[in-house]
């Protein structure tokens, strides 16, 4: 009746699971510990999720990819360097939950967790990355010979910056982000 203050149990389970999978990996996470932190009984987790793997998969397939798409949708601006700087800088203020989902996704992306099925989904997504950034950068690129290399380098740099913020949980200032992106995109303004 007055269950407004308390989130849906199913959702709370998922949130705690993100925390645990993040800190202890798939095999290091136990349903019992999740239940303890959620403050519910152990079988309740089986009431909402068929098994451990299904819980993990839902986090990656829904939460992580939703997050990626939300991030990708942000991408519009006039100045290309401002644009990418803001894109990375805003990751600093991602919610803790989103950061952990992101981190977990990167873990699967690097084959540090998850299984082959999830990896295939990751590969599919990865194929879209370079073309997408190429489209964004196209109007700003000048000489045709190393255009693709610039896009590749930028994507590589973005990867490390994202990793720093999301995985290593560091704060990167707008200035240092801008400096590095400017070095790769020098001449593109």
């Amino acid at each position: 009746m007055f269950n407004i203050v308390e989130k849906d149990l199913r959702e709370r389970i998922k949130e705690v699971a993100v925390e645990h999978f993040n800190s202890n990996g798939y095999h290091g996470t136990t349903i019992r510990n999740i239940a303890r932190d959620v403050n519910c009984s152990l079988p309740m987790i089986y009431y909402y999720y068929n098994n451990k793997k299904e819980l993990f998969d839902e986090i990656i397939k829904k939460e992580y990819f939703d997050l990626l798409k939300r991030q990708a949708a942000l991408l519009r601006t006039n100045n290309i360097i401002d644009f990418y700087t803001k894109f990375v800088y805003d990751l600093n203020s991602l919610s803790n939950y989103d950061k952990k989902v992101y981190r977990l996704g990167i873990k699967v992306y690097l084959s540090f967790d998850g299984d082959e099925e999830l990896m295939e989904i990751m590969d599919e997504w990865e194929k879209t990355i370079l073309p997408r950034h190429y489209q964004i950068l196209k109007p700003y690129l000048k000489n045709a010979d190393n255009d693709l290399a610039i896009v590749r380098t930028l994507v590589h740099l973005l990867e490390t910056l994202i990793e720093s913020i999301v995985v290593k949980n560091r704060f990167l200032s707008e200035e240092e982000i801008r400096e590095e992106i400017s070095i790769v995109l020098h001449g593109c303004e």
Copy 2:
């Protein structure tokens, strides 16, 4: 007596352990499976290593950091772009064992495995990275205002390239490596 063909059992255990920790993570790896693949009895692993964690720690503390130091020692040349290109390119031909040790180390570095003690060792090493590359790049840097940013960007790019080769197990051609490094180090020749 004629044990020449067969490697030291202790060493073989470690090699198989690298394989398992790599594929399944710390918690996903079982002593029993290691023993099976080594073709020895289960308690033999406890004969050479006090417990599972000690086995894992030895791989990171000895094998991984030995590898990092071996790699860092390679760094001398005339042309700075050639130099870094070769540095990355040569990772392609690392032995499978070394690649797996490297991968495992990165996993710990990103806090995806291991514990806090190992993380501290990682942090110590990390502090040496920027100064070391700054020393190497110093003679080639020109204007003082964004010198440090160039070093940082290069180190970040190197990180992703290393991850591509070692973690994602991709082959990167010398040309694409050179292109990306040249973009970051444009003007430094």
